[in-house]
Symmetry: C5
Subunit: 354 residues, 5 copies
């Protein structure tokens, strides 16, 4: 299956707004978790049905509904209905191959982007789609499977009587995006450490395994870039939005987010260039190594050429070859051969070939 | 014939507005099909003459006239006259080598773009020109030959009492463009699966056939890109149009179309870069393979050089060569040769040449 | 002489407005031809003196004065005076190395661009400068030498009671520019057909002649590009002008011209990229071919190495070499040599080297 | 540790505004130094506590507080509180891996950028973060460790009754930034001299050490670029600011700063391109050198091939080989061999191979 | 010394406005020349002191003060004071490593750019800084050393009762800049003629000297580019200025200047690309030549391999080798060897290897 472009055969030709899940089902059953809080109260529970959310919608508390698992059209439809999410947006949420983007409506902000993690072998990026819908006092987030990347945010909600509890869902959205970008940076940093280490290895030991590793990293960097670049655009757009859903006091935080996005994108580019440099260095190192071998062997062979010729010469069967009769002809020849060899070595040395 | 730039010798020097068909005639006779519908009624028939269209033009129903085959100037002229399509536009419609573009007039929107498909061997893109004219309650589409790419849209018109039947020709235009872009994505995906698979093959078996395949894909990607990039511009322009022919309620759908166009263009770029990477990897793999062979053979030859020299040495016919008289001289020499060979192998091993 | 930058030593240090012809004189004597027309009347004659033009300047007919040959300062000066063309513009007209550009004055539009043609061997672009001055009811065009590229336009003026006769000099300017761009496309197409054909040749028969041809085409494409890119800017600028000399009804035609310019520029880029691809393919093909030869020869040589060693071995003159005494030693050795050769061939086959 | 992207594990998941130092602690204890001056008075002392700063904040004198060492959250917090620096900015100050940037608030301008220096071996750039906060009549600067780069500015404050003493903290900020950019230019110039010298070396003696040096310079140039490019943006932004903290009289100086920033960025690009050229020249020089060796050796070997063949031929043991019986056969053969060798040499000479 | 970035150690840390000359002193003593003219009067003299300029400043005549030699701070200071030139500008004038730029003040326009010339060997560009200050009725120009590039302008002032005498200092500024750009074009043209000639040479005789020449030209083109690109920006800025110092009537001339600047920049780019193409062609030609040699030699060697083997075979000393006894064995073998050689030649011919 094409990894860089997800199959969407099933949705082809369907009217827009059809909730057909695109991707691999990653959990058996969608899980809904509601965290409802203000400065004084806090409610955190797994729910079965969205009907219990009715009070959240009208109260002045901040509600965060997290949905893990997107493959049940019925559940998605009910969530969509409860929060009046337009059908086109629901369709984007379940299409996990969607390009990161941000859409603004008068009373709703929709953001979809990729959360990245790295597998245990540190050679493959795993991408999961996160969609956020900010509407009224509610923030609804959709993930493909449960994860603990937002656990620090939940901790801050639970334990702290801090800023997060005093602010609304826009600040919560910022806190979540902050985690997502922190994660980008962490993934890039893990790869970056390895990439910077290539520098030495390439010159010392340019093995085919190293080449494959460099190429793997290049491909994964291209993969990260496809997630990070539109995410940066989203951060910029969010920092400049004039939508009333985002309070003006949040702007400095969003600008901070923009800095982070900028840094992320820049780091990706830096490491991309570095990988290209490594690739060039690798090629040069391999070819230098080969050239050294070939030069050595050729010089070695060259020295024997006149010696073998001389041996062949005195192996001829002419009746009259006076040298063959000389008493010490053989030893003189051996000496002569040694002289030729040494002379050639000196000549090569002088020309700096060895 | 130049495939990337269609011949237009016949139109050269003619006044603008001359309806001269540029391309290969693909059907024997143009076929006109009218689908006329609103929420309650539906009429779908093949027509002979555009005269029967008069009622469509004035009624409040949505009319979709599809013309397959562009090579009959007379038919084109009559269609143009019936819907008051300017001559310059008709000329663009019959010139199948035209660059995709969108033109806006106060009471008419004209879009021409390419529909792409892939041949059975999956190694050549087939391009067909689609032109759409949106005017009043009518949408007129022109294709070079009949195709079934719009069949799902016709199905949705026929069987569903859905959104398509309730909306006007602008929504129909959106639905058709949606199909065109879905098709782009499908074509790219088919190629993309193959392209992503090259990754392994290039390293495992860099055959000349693979090289030719990579080059074919690069050329076809360049071909796709020439269709997709202006198509994206069209989608963006359509989403931002303030023309009254496009109702404001359609905007979210057109934005969705823009996302799709963006994704298409991005996928083309991603695969282009990937193909370039494959080309580089291929070259590297071929040259590595050759280097391995050459290194092996050179080392093999190098080991025999001193052995052959020794054999030559004792093949000489000097009268006085004491070694030749020794009882076991021959066997000592054989042992010495073995020692030289093993010593050289060990040396090469130590220098990591083998 | 530098072809990509014409010598202008003679004008250096002169005050601006000096009418010094830069280029090669291509006709013996300037030729002036006036075509004066409206819907009813038509006058077409070669004139000697610009004085006879006085009535044209004041009448309501459209006048087209074409000047072939720019090297007579006196003639140029009289034409300039008759139509009040500023000195700076006259200077640009006679400087045939000028970059294509468009200048607007309140009552005058000046355009200078290159007309391209291809020589008979189809390997060299010939460039001629065309300058157009649109002022009042007159269009004055300046060419370096007489040509028949505008003949179709004259035909349309002569034979048709068509659109051209009904419109003013702005439409005539459009018609001429249309011819110029058609010519660009034709030149590019002639080259394009050849360029697309390289594709096969490069892989089948990468001869040095082909390489030279590719390089010639690349240089000529660079030459075309230098003419076409500013010409596209001119088309865009003309389509957006608000100068009253260009009637608003002409705008759709000028937009059409813009499309054509866009297509021209795009085709140049496409073929440039294609030529670069061909160059890379050529290099790869040449190096693959060489590698094949070298691999074959090296393997051939390698097989003989141990055989020659064995022959040398039994050519030694040791007194005691038991094998030499064996009755069938020679034939056993021959068999052994055959076995070694076959074994090596099988080994190479197994490693996929042959 | 990734050098191009600093670890920020400790801050991950923390609420924004947490003052966690990111970097290596470079001094044992933060050092605070206050310089407070106007045209007549001057006070310059190391302080222990920020409480003593109260009079500075309200007086009309210009106060410059320099903080060396950022790792003590408590000190940073107190400084922040004394000057009402927002928490987000304090966080940026202690995060030494931050991207250079400028933030504007109604009553505060915050700039963070990198100061560069070069180590003694001239092969590694050392980067230190400098943060400046301009608020009211005060300028607060934060460095990771004490340095003498600002000593000339302090000198100008101390000794001169010049412009610096007459102006406010905005001019002081300009003077400091001027020093930072001068430092950039100096670092680039030191590297540039070496880089320009590579030109000759690459052609004369393309040693592996030189290659490594070129690569080191390329990596360090990339490092400098990451500091210089955002610094240029800061200079441009500062020159265009309409913030009242920056007096209009300062604008010409800031424009001067912009010129310098432009020149810096341009110099980096120039040397980057030059290094790439050197890399290419190096590769070419190495490969030319190898080719020369190989050509020489191959020609040498080729001359001996027919000679050795002839020697082998007359080493054969056929009973009837008439040449062997000729009286001077051996000498005739030697002469023939000489003739062959000379003939081949002449042939190679004629073909310009040697 | 870094040629692409001039040392400015002496100014580092100095307050802005310090008049420290950066560069090599090129004349012993600054020379001041005043040309003061209007339509009727003309005064042209070398002066010692700027005090004599007082009448020029107030009169309605146009004054052109040219200063050759910038290394005397005192002279510079007096000139600056006489014309009220701000200190920052004076500093830019004496810093001959400054990037070309244009600064506008309400009553003063400052332009600094590079004048280029080419040394006698035509392999090195010499750059000299020209600074122009336009203020009131005066134009002050500063050069590093006397030159005759402006002689034609002086001629036009002296001999002609032409346009230059009728216009003000803005037209004079235009005339000087026109000369500077003409000079750029001339330098580029001299180099261009040589560069275009490389085309043939590269294919015919790719000698190392040619490579070095190509590289020299590339470096010098990069040098030119650094002067020409900002100069183009200056021309554009000057043509668009709304400063009252530049009369509106001058605009067409400035637009002409812009065309020239555009052409200059384009020519630089064209030749840069051409040089890169030559470099690639050179590499290809060298490698083709080497490949030809190697192929020839390898084929030559290959043909002798089986022949030498046969000779070795019949040089063996087996007691029983029946062929050796045959009467014509030797001649049969010679014939066989000839057949093998011819057969191999034919085979290689068939495979198109020779």
């Amino acid at each position: 299956m094409a990894r860089f472009l997800k199959k969407n055969d099933m949705t082809a030709g369907k009217p827009p707004g059809s909730l057909i899940f695109v991707g691999q089902q990653k959990v058996t059953e969608p899980r809904l978790r509601i965290i409802d809080y203000d400065e004084e109260t806090l409610r955190d529970e797994i729910i079965r049905d969205v009907d219990v959310l009715a009070p959240c919608l009208t109260s002045r508390t901040t509600s965060w509904l997290n949905v893990d698992g997107l493959h049940e059209p019925e559940v998605m439809g009910r969530v969509g209905a409860a929060f009046s999410i337009p059908e086109l947006i629901l369709e984007d949420i379940v299409n996990t191959g969607h390009r990161p983007k941000m859409d603004e409506y008068p009373n709703l902000i929709f953001i979809t982007l990729k959360m990245l993690s790295i597998n245990e072998d540190r050679d493959r990026i795993i991408s999961e789609q996160l969609s956020c819908v900010l509407t009224g006092r509610c923030l609804i987030t959709f993930q493909e499977q449960p994860g603990d990347v937002f656990e620090p945010v939940r901790d801050r909600i639970r334990h702290q009587s801090g800023r997060l509890r005093r602010r609304g869902p826009d600040y919560l959205l910022y806190a979540l995006l902050d985690r997502v970008f922190e994660n980008y940076l962490k993934v890039i940093e893990i790869m970056g450490e390895r990439i910077e280490a290539f520098d030495e290895e390439v010159l010392d030991d340019p093995s085919p395994e190293l080449l494959e590793e460099i190429n793997t990293y290049r491909r994964e960097m291209a993969f990260i870039r496809r997630a990070v670049r539109p995410a940066r655009e989203i951060a910029l757009k969010l920092a400049r939005t004039e939508n009333e859903l985002v309070a003006e006091e949040i702007t400095p935080y969003l600008r901070d987010l923009t800095d982070m996005a900028e840094q992320t994108a820049e780091a990706v580019e830096t490491y991309r260039e570095m990988l290209n440099d490594h690739l060039n260095s690798y090629n040069m190192a391999v070819s230098n190594r080969l050239n050294d071998v070939m030069k050595f062997l050729t010089i070695f062979a060259t020295i024997f050429i006149p010696l073998s010729f001389l041996a062949g010469l005195y192996g001829m069967n002419f009746d009259f070859m006076p040298e063959l009769k000389f008493r010490y002809g053989y030893f003189v020849l051996l000496g002569g051969m040694g002289a030729v060899a040494v002379g050639m070595l000196l000549y090569f040395k002088k020309r700096k070939w060895i």
